[in-house]
Structures are given as C-alpha cells and as structure tokens.
C-alpha cells in the first residue's frame, strides 16, 4: 500500500494535434513510505505531475497508479495539501478536518477521536473552533495538513505547501514536517521550487527539465543523509551548514541553472 508509479506519462494541454506538450515520458516510481520531491523551473509541469496523481487531471498517454491501482478520479486515499491551503472558510478548523471523515461515514465518536488526535498532532488544539480567516497562514496550512493526515491516506501529495508562507514560518513548517515524517511516515510526493527544502525533506529529489518537462536526474538524498547522520540535528540551519548538504544543494542548483540558461528569450 502506498506506492506511486508513473509509467511513460505524457501530458498535452489543448487538442492532441496542436496542443502544448507539458510533460514528456515521465517515469518515476515512489516506494511505500518514501518521500520524493520534484524540483524544476517554473512551468516545467511538476505541479501537473502531482495533479495527475491526485486525479484532477488525466495523462494524455501512459499510466499513473497508486498502490497498484490506476488513478481515475480524486479520492481520500490520495490526500492533497494545496499551496493556497484551500480550506473552507465557512467551516471551523474542526469542521474542516472532520469533513473527510464524515464523507467516509465514520460514526461520530470515532470521528471525534481522530479529529482530536489530528489537532494534537499539528498543535491546533486551542484553535479547534476558530474560523480559517482568524488564523495566520502557517496555522491555516497546519489545518490543511491535519485535514490530509486525518484521512490516513495511502499517499500525501503536497503542492508547494509552504510557498505562500513567510520565510520564518516556512522553516518552522519544514521542521514540523520532518518531525511528522518520523512520527507517522507516509508516502509523500512533494512539489517545490525551493532546492534547500527539497534536499532537507526528501529521500530522493527528482530534477525536471523545462517544458516539455522530463525527469533529468534523480538524486538519492537518503543514503547521504544516513551516511552523514543529518538527523542528529534538530534545526534546519545546522543541517544546511553540512558539507554534504551544501554539495547536494549546489549540484541541484547547477542542474536547474542549466535549464534556465537554455531558455530562449
């Protein structure tokens, strides 16, 4: 349970003959409980990859499957965390988190237990009855993450989840996500354009080319993280100072810069 597979996936926007090719022959396998980040220049189609796993869009060719099942429509087995949070502003924090459980027809008692533990997991207990607009951006994204986690999904799809947050909040959320991944490991597909974020969070980082997006390179961060024992540090800045981290980051930067350099103006 919880693997993601891209098999020869193409995506064309518009009519098949004259449309814009956004993705070209994407092949990627994400193992159960593995955290994979996709980085790439803007407009390379990385978000489209995630949206196809979520079932919001269909591939033009090829196959996408999750836990061995072909993706045909959105569903709570593939929880999405959106860049713009996408909370329901007329529902309280608790009601936002509870909706997915109600849709699963769980009895009220069971729902309550799960919502409480999700609130606790994301440090939201004191805000359970607040409305989203009463919360800061970081808090709102915590709600969105809680709403995703509470579903107990096979895979977690995060589309630049910290892109709309200020720098400090962003760092807190990144550390939080690492903590979460240890407490409650998940299969995660994480889209970002922030290289350091990708290296800090992911087990593997896939680098994409500019449009039409192809996977250019996949870096194994986990083996380096384990070899260099990054996890002995609590704080992101300490990890970011390590030579092994800097080396990886620079490698990805150069790879992305090549993509930007080849862009015709």
């Amino acid at each position: 349970m919880g693997s993601i597979l891209f098999q020869n996936v193409d995506k064309v926007f518009g009519p098949a003959s004259s449309g814009v090719k956004a993705l070209d022959n994407i092949n990627l396998e994400i193992a159960e409980k593995e955290f994979v980040a996709i980085v790439g220049p803007s407009g390379c189609g990385k978000t489209t990859c995630l949206r196809m796993v979520a079932g919001f869009e269909a591939p033009s060719a090829g196959l996408i499957s999750v836990s061995g099942k072909k993706v045909t429509e959105p569903g709570p087995d593939r929880a999405v965390v959106f860049q713009q949070f996408a909370l329901f502003p007329w529902k309280t924090v608790r009601e936002n988190i509870e909706l997915g459980l109600r849709n699963k027809n769980l009895p009220a008692g069971e729902r309550n237990t799960l919502v409480e533990s999700a609130l606790k997991l994301m440090n939201l207990e004191t805000h359970a009855d607040a409305f989203p607009h009463q919360l800061s951006g970081g808090m709102q994204q915590r709600v969105a993450i809680a709403r995703a986690y509470v579903l107990d999904p096979d895979v977690l799809l995060m589309d630049e989840p910290f892109g709309a947050l200020d720098a400090q909040t962003r760092v807190v959320m990144q550390e939080e996500l690492v903590r979460l991944a240890r407490v409650n490991p998940r299969t995660v597909l994480f889209i970002t354009h922030a290289v350091e974020e990708a290296v800090y969070l992911a087990d593997r980082v896939a680098i994409m080319t500019r449009r039409p997006g192809r996977i250019k390179e996949i870096l194994d961060v986990r083996s380096i993280r384990q070899a260099e024992n990054w996890d002995r540090f609590q704080k992101i800045e300490d990890v970011m100072d390590l030579e092994s981290f800097v080396h990886l980051r620079t490698h990805i930067w150069k790879s992305l810069r090549e993509e930007k350099g080849s862009q015709s103006i």
């Binding site: 979520a54 079932g55 919001f56 429509e73 959105p74 569903g75 709570p76 593939r78 929880a79 999405v80 959106f82 713009q84 996408a86 909370l87 329901f88 502003p89 007329w90 529902k91 909706l99 997915g100 109600r102 849709n103 699963k104 409305f131 607009h133 009463q134 709403r147 579903l151």
Partner: protein, 258 residues
C-alpha cells in the same frame, strides 16, 4: 443603537421634510394641486389609516402587497437559486438553458404583466407570477456567477476529501457562492417591489399600487404621496430584513473583509 452615520442620515431626512414644508406651505412656490403639503399628507394618511381608502385601510393594503412580494420572492429564490447552482455546476445544463435565458432576459418584467393578467385575471396569482418572472432572473444569474467564481482548489479539496454530490452542493458550492447569491437576492427583492407596484397599478382590487391608481383617478395628490411613502418604507424594511439574514449567513465572510 443609532451610530454616527445613522444620525447624519436622519439629519438629511429632517432637512428634506423642512424643505418640503418650506416650498409647499410657507412660501407656496409648489401648489397643492401638484404636490401635497405636509398637512395634506397627514390628513390623507389619517383618512386611509382610519376610515380607509380604495376599499380598505392602509394596513390591509400594505399587508396584501407585502404578502404578494413575499410569496413571489420566495418562489423566485426557491427556483432561481437551484437553477443557478445547477447551471454553474453542470456545463451541459448551462449550454442548454443559457440561450433561452439570453432571449427571455431582455424582456422587461413589466412586459409580462398583460400576459399574466390575461392568463390569471386581476387576482393574486397573476401578481405572484409577474414577481416571479422579475425576481427569478437576478437570482439565477448571480447564483450562476457565484458558482463560476469559486476558487478551483476549494472544489478540488472537497473532491479529494471524497465529498458526495449532495453534500458538495450544500456544504461547499452553495456557501462558496453565497456572497454573490445574496447580491442576487437583493436585486431580486428590489425587482419584486418594482413589478408588484406596477402590476397593481395596471390591474388590482387591493394593494398599495391600487391605492396609487385610485388616488390618481381621484386627483388626490395627498393620497398618492401616502402610497409612495408606503412603498418606500415597505421596500426599505424588507431590504433591512434581508441584510440581517445576509450578515448572519455570511458572518465568516464579513469578518474576513474587515
């Protein structure tokens, strides 16, 4: 209770009444045959309030008009909001219905009055039908626009959460569209009063529009003004009521705007 803005508003009303008194009574620049003086207005008001005019007291005329507006408005929103939601949500429904709408929409609601009277006579049902015609359109159009303006991620989030269709409409689509739905309702309410008074002017046996019509035939400016003020107050009161409902329903949105 009354804030600073309220006092300024009351001041304007008081100034207008003073001006009215000045023009009609003190200076006599405007003659009583064209526009009634405050005294004549007061006498007319006392007449229709007590003895009655045009077959009834003011209260019964006003309540009758209010009842028709309430019924026509209720029917209009009960049909208009669901149709707007459906058209916004379902592209096929929109493709099927929109062309019909584009043709019917430019017909002024008042142009339906002759047909409605021909079909249903001078009774209540003809008026309710006409109010429905006029109030229906703004409800549908604004509800439709409200649904179309919903942020896509919000709907995607609901789909991702496995929200079943009916709950999607009730708990996601309708609340997300509700700010524009209420805009439509305000326009619908306005249209309801406009058409009702017009319909009563053309053919009725009771109601504020009928009072206006009779007063015109009797060359009775004081009573005409009483009828007009009554319509104004009724329209104002129902708008305030709708505003209270709106503020309550959209409390999450109002707070977000501050």
């Amino acid at each position: 209770m009354i804030g600073r803005r309220g006092w300024i508003g009351l001041g304007t009303v008081a100034a207008l009444i003073a001006l009215w008194f000045l023009l009609t009574t003190v200076t006599g620049i405007v003659s009583g045959a064209r526009f009634p003086s405050p005294a004549e207005f007061w006498l007319s008001l006392r007449q229709i309030w007590g003895r009655g005019y045009a077959g009834g007291q003011l209260i019964s005329h006003a309540l009758h008009s209010l009842k028709l507006v309430a019924m026509g408005f209720a029917v209009a929103i009960a049909t208009g909001i669901p149709l707007g939601l459906w058209m916004g949500w379902n592209r096929k429904a929109e493709a099927a219905i929109n062309p019909v709408f584009l043709v019917i929409r430019p017909i002024p609601p008042l142009a339906w009055i002759p047909l409605a009277i021909l079909w249903l006579g001078l009774g209540d049902s003809a008026k309710i039908l006409v109010i429905w015609f006029s109030a229906f359109v703004p409800s549908v159009i604004n509800t439709f626009a409200g649904v179309r303006n919903i942020d896509r991620p919000m709907i995607e989030a609901a789909r991702m959460l496995g929200t079943p269709r009916w709950r999607m409409v009730r708990e996601v689509i309708a609340p997300a569209a509700s700010p524009l739905i209420f805009t439509g309702l305000r326009l619908s309410l306005q249209a309801s009063w406009t058409t009702l008074v017009a319909a009563e002017l053309v053919g009725a046996l009771v109601g504020v529009g009928f009072v206006l019509n009779m007063a015109q035939q009797d060359l009775y400016p004081g009573m005409i003004l009483v009828g007009m003020v009554t319509v104004g107050l009724l329209g104002w009161a129902t708008t305030v009521l709708l505003g209270m409902v709106e503020r309550r329903a959209l409390s999450w949105n109002m707070a977000a705007r501050d």
